[in-house]
């Protein structure tokens, strides 16, 4: 069973629908107790970083996530804001601390030329690093997926740069997906990226099955 965290920030339905189509059982987690029973955990999300962190905290998810994902190494997938929340900190309208599972900062996309509109909204092609790690393995190319965001993850070190499994270009290089052991994240929306996106989610489900 995959727990999808409901922290009042997002398109829970879309991601639950996509997992459902792939035959995975999901539960919408409104309280942290469910996380210990889940085989995998997903933070979807759309919205502002500050509110996202605040809601996770207030609903009591922060400690449970720390325990289940960071310590017990349960398979985890963060999507869009859900990915940004696991970074070290974000500079979205101020400076805020994240869950700090991966050494990245969340920064505003600042294109070098005026031809790139913000938000970065629409379908963009992934540049997959090597085999694409776990999430992107076997994805047919060109892998074109749906993005909608104004902030992105920037690696803080050479070591964290190695966690990046794909990027895309929108006026600058945008981190599109990362993975570190049991922790996965994508800036794009696999639940809204048709065949390609469903293949990404299928890869996550397979990983979760093996590591349950």
């Amino acid at each position: 069973m995959i727990a999808i965290i409901d922290y009042k920030m997002g398109n829970l339905r879309s991601i639950a629908n996509a997992f459902g189509l792939l035959g995975a059982e999901t539960v919408i987690a409104q309280t942290p107790e469910i996380l210990s029973k889940a085989e995998a955990i997903v933070i979807p999300g759309v919205g502002a970083f500050r509110d996202g962190m605040k809601n996770l905290q207030e609903l009591g998810f922060t400690n449970a996530l720390q325990e289940e994902v960071a310590e017990n190494k349960k398979p985890f997938l963060g999507v869009c804001l859900g990915l940004q929340l696991i970074a070290k900190r974000s500079f979205e309208n101020g400076e805020y601390e994240g869950l700090d599972w991966i050494d990245f900062d969340v920064k505003k996309i600042t294109p070098q030329s005026g031809n790139f509109r913000i938000p970065h909204m629409g379908w963009n092609e992934l540049e997959i690093k090597g085999e694409g790690g776990v999430l992107l393995q076997g994805i047919p190319k060109p892998a074109v997926v749906y993005f909608v965001h104004s902030y992105f993850l920037q690696p803080n070190s050479k070591a964290s740069e190695k966690l990046v499994t794909s990027t895309c270009f929108h006026g600058e290089t945008i981190t599109a997906s990362v993975e570190q052991e049991n922790i996965f994240g994508c800036q794009f929306h696999p639940e809204k990226s048709q065949n390609t996106g469903l293949a990404v989610l299928r890869n996550f489900i397979e990983f979760a099955k093996k590591h349950a």
């Binding site: 997002g10 398109n11 339905r13 189509l21 963009n124 092609e125 909608v148 929108h170 639940e191 048709q194």
Partner: protein
């Protein structure tokens, strides 16, 4: 590089999808589930569905339809029409909308866009602007195109951007249903004055019009309604035509969604 998007717009009125000419609804063209299945199958890039019913009697049915649609739409789904409050937005997002499209209320109450963007993020707030030419001047119309605000669309688009809108859905009422192509002058004016993406809407009569909207109008995304309902394999053909002209468009791959219909047909 970011691709230009081809968007299908569905006008939902009292339970059925309708055709629109200058914002008057003419033919019923079928039901929403069939349309969405079709678009998903042929790799449309995004779906916009607007409740254009003249009153709110069937609003609950609309919510039920969105709920069902979202379960079978694996491309972004934008929902608009009759959105007046933050609660309205929350409800639509909960039942599966990815973005919401606001129009009259956004114009009347600038705080609304600001609050909505703060609450849900700019990326999910699309401001829809309906424009009509009066005495050779572009003007913003609200209330289903019934009320002339006297406002210049460029000014309003810039203000909407400043308030936190993530995208502009720009419709020419004059061109709506005309098949004469987009009002390229209008689209170029608005898109040249904002930094957020602009979606062109109103007037597509053949595939070349999509290309014009992007190449001449400088729209980021092009949308149409009627033409998709009346052409076989329309999105695939439109995309192939656009790709052949050199535009950066996502390939139309065939995708079969094995999701049973409940009920099978809703007519």
């Amino acid at each position: 590089m970011l691709k230009n998007r081809l968007i299908a717009c569905l006008l939902w009125r009292d339970g059925l999808i309708v055709q629109s000419v200058n914002f008057n609804h003419t033919n019923f063209v079928g039901d929403a589930l069939t349309a969405v299945d079709f678009f998903n199958t042929w790799a449309i890039d995004e779906i916009v569905i607007l409740d254009v019913s003249r009153n709110a009697e069937k609003r609950d049915l609309f919510f039920r339809i969105i709920d069902e649609l979202s379960a079978r739409s694996f491309v972004p789904l934008t929902v608009g029409g009759k959105i007046r409050t933050i609660e309205d937005i929350r409800k639509l997002l909960q039942i599966g909308a990815d973005k919401v499209c606001v129009n009259s209320e956004a114009f009347k109450n600038s705080q609304f866009v600001m609050q909505a963007a703060e609450m849900f993020g700019s990326q999910c707030i699309v401001v829809s602007i309906d424009v009509k030419k009066i005495n050779d001047q572009y003007r913003v119309f609200i209330n289903n195109g019934q009320t002339d605000t006297g406002t210049d669309p460029v000014g309003w688009a810039k203000q909407a951007e400043a308030l936190g809108a993530g995208e502009i859905f720009l419709t020419s009422i004059d061109r709506d249903g005309s098949r004469e192509g987009y009002d390229l002058e209008l689209i170029a004016k608005v898109s040249g004055n904002v930094r957020i993406p602009v979606i062109a809407s109103g007037g597509v009569g053949d595939w070349q019009h999509f290309i014009d909207g992007i190449a001449k109008g400088k729209a980021d995304a092009v949308s149409a309604a009627n033409i998709f309902h009346y052409s076989e394999q329309s999105t695939k053909k439109a995309k192939n035509f656009m790709r052949a002209s050199g535009l950066n468009i996502r390939e139309p791959e065939f995708y079969f969604i094995n999701t049973p219909r409940k009920p099978k047909y809703r007519i």
